[in-house]
């Protein structure tokens, strides 16, 4: 199950936050195919956001083929994004890289900036 946390001051549209957090949960394996997403009612009761915002996010996820709505039952995960499970070699390499960066005296912001710059280089033109 996933619990959404809405940050009102992030400047990111609320429905986008839900989409991002769902994808994050898929990537980290917290959501797997067949899992049920919380109902709109459950989400809005906890977050006090407009129900249509939740539905808009779920429609977006559906459009991307990540989830499917089953009438009367709820919204279910169709496929995972768990290309990088917590124990994958890629992750351990990144882990080691972060340790080296830290050891070389970089702080959190420096490392994040470096990482983002590399991402930008590889994914030019694609929306974040």
């Amino acid at each position: 199950m996933v619990e959404y946390r809405i940050d009102r001051h992030s400047g990111v549209a609320t429905y986008v936050q839900i989409v991002q957090q769902t994808k994050q949960a898929l990537r980290l394996g917290m959501l797997e195919p067949g899992d049920k997403l919380p109902t709109a009612r459950e989400v809005v009761e906890a977050t006090a956001i407009n129900p249509n915002t939740v539905l808009k996010a779920y429609r977006e996820l559906e459009r991307e083929g990540l989830v499917e709505a089953r009438r009367g039952l709820g919204t279910f995960v169709r496929r995972g994004l768990s290309t990088t499970p917590a124990d994958s070699p890629l992750r351990s390499e990144l882990d080691a890289w972060a340790e080296r960066a830290l050891a070389s005296g970089l702080d959190r912001d420096d490392i994040a900036a470096l990482f983002t710059a590399v991402l930008e280089k590889h994914f030019q033109g694609e929306p974040s």
Partner: protein, 340 residues
């Protein structure tokens, strides 16, 4: 965009009426208890006045009459106590319409409008008109039963002394006349409705209390003045040998009749046994006294006519109250909106 789920499938027509009675009883429980207590206590007092107190006073009078000749000692306290308590209970019965008017004016509609709880009720499944009807109907029944019981008991307590007690009040004594009859019960209803009217009109407890009391007092005074004229009087001619015109009851007009049959004012001289008066009457060309009055047989026609008039005024006031409410809450203009 569509509704997120099926809308509530509760759009069917009304099947059960709101339980207004239970709600009203809970809402006005304190007033209900006070009224019940008042009716019980005053009713018990009236039974006491008409029973033991009257009997004791009758005994007292017997002693008095026995002693008037022999010069023995008698105890006047029983007679005095009867008189006092008769007066207290009469005043209490007469106060009923004003107590009801004050309660109704201060709380029935005014306080609810002031606090917004009337609006709370109107936004449940109860229309303002239905709300007002319920708020008037339940107290109206209780007021009618209670005040009817009290005037009935007063009438009984009064009649218990008739013919037995020299100090018993006559039927036409103004307090006794009013407290004995249904007109006072009708007046209590008028007080109830006027309180509801003023409450809607002023939407303020104090202003409504004052308005309600004043309008009830006004109606009471008008009826007190008008009552003798509600039924044709009986005219009784009597000899000038008497000191005053004969015929007792509610007097409307009295004076002297001249030889031509004209009615002139009574100079209040007295009997023709007095030479002075005989001269005066001769000079005025008076031949007899006349007295336009209501004898005791007119008691019920007068009471019932007055009751009918008060009830008619009450009904008119109730209609005005509903109209006022409709105008305030828009049920009148509703047809216009339906046109959109």
């Amino acid at each position: 965009m569509t509704a997120l789920a099926t809308p509530p499938a509760l759009t069917g027509r009304r099947t059960a009426a709101p339980h207004l009675l239970r709600w009203l009883v809970r809402l006005h429980r304190p007033a209900l208890l006070v009224w019940a207590g008042f009716v019980l206590v005053l009713g018990a007092l009236l039974i006491w006045v008409g029973g033991p107190l009257t009997d004791a006073a009758v005994e007292g009078w017997k002693h008095y009459h026995a002693c008037a000749a022999g010069g023995c000692v008698y105890d006047p306290s029983a007679v005095g106590r009867y008189k006092d308590w008769y007066t207290y209970t009469t005043i209490a019965v007469l106060a009923v319409p004003f107590l009801i008017a004050a309660w109704s004016g201060a709380t029935l509609t005014s306080r609810e409008l002031e606090n917004g709880t009337a609006q709370l009720a109107w936004t449940q499944s109860v229309s303002p008109a239905r709300w007002l009807a319920a708020k008037l109907a339940l107290p109206a029944v209780l007021v009618t039963v209670g005040s009817g019981l009290l005037v009935g008991l007063h009438h009984w307590a009064w009649s218990a002394g008739q013919g037995r007690l020299d100090s018993a009040k006559d039927w036409y004594d103004i307090g006794t006349y009013a407290a004995n009859g249904p007109a006072t019960a009708a007046m209590a209803l008028a007080g109830l409705v006027s309180g509801a009217f003023w409450g809607l009109f002023k939407r303020n407890s104090l202003a409504s209390l004052v308005g309600s009391l004043f309008s009830t007092a006004f109606l009471w005074s008008v009826m007190a003045i008008a009552t003798p004229h509600l039924w044709p009087t009986v005219t009784k001619l009597s000899s000038l040998k008497n000191t005053v015109p004969s015929g007792s009851g509610i007097v409307v007009d009295q004076g002297l009749v001249t030889s031509t049959g004209a009615h002139i004012a009574n100079p209040h001289c007295g009997s023709t046994d007095w030479a002075q008066c005989q001269t005066l009457y001769a000079k005025l060309d008076a031949v007899s006294y006349y007295n336009d009055y209501h004898p005791q047989s007119h008691y019920w026609p007068l009471q019932l006519t007055a009751t009918a008039i008060i009830l008619a005024v009450t009904a008119a006031l109730a209609v005005a109250t509903f109209r006022l409410l409709e105008r305030q809450t828009g049920t009148v203009n509703s047809r216009k909106a339906a046109a959109i």
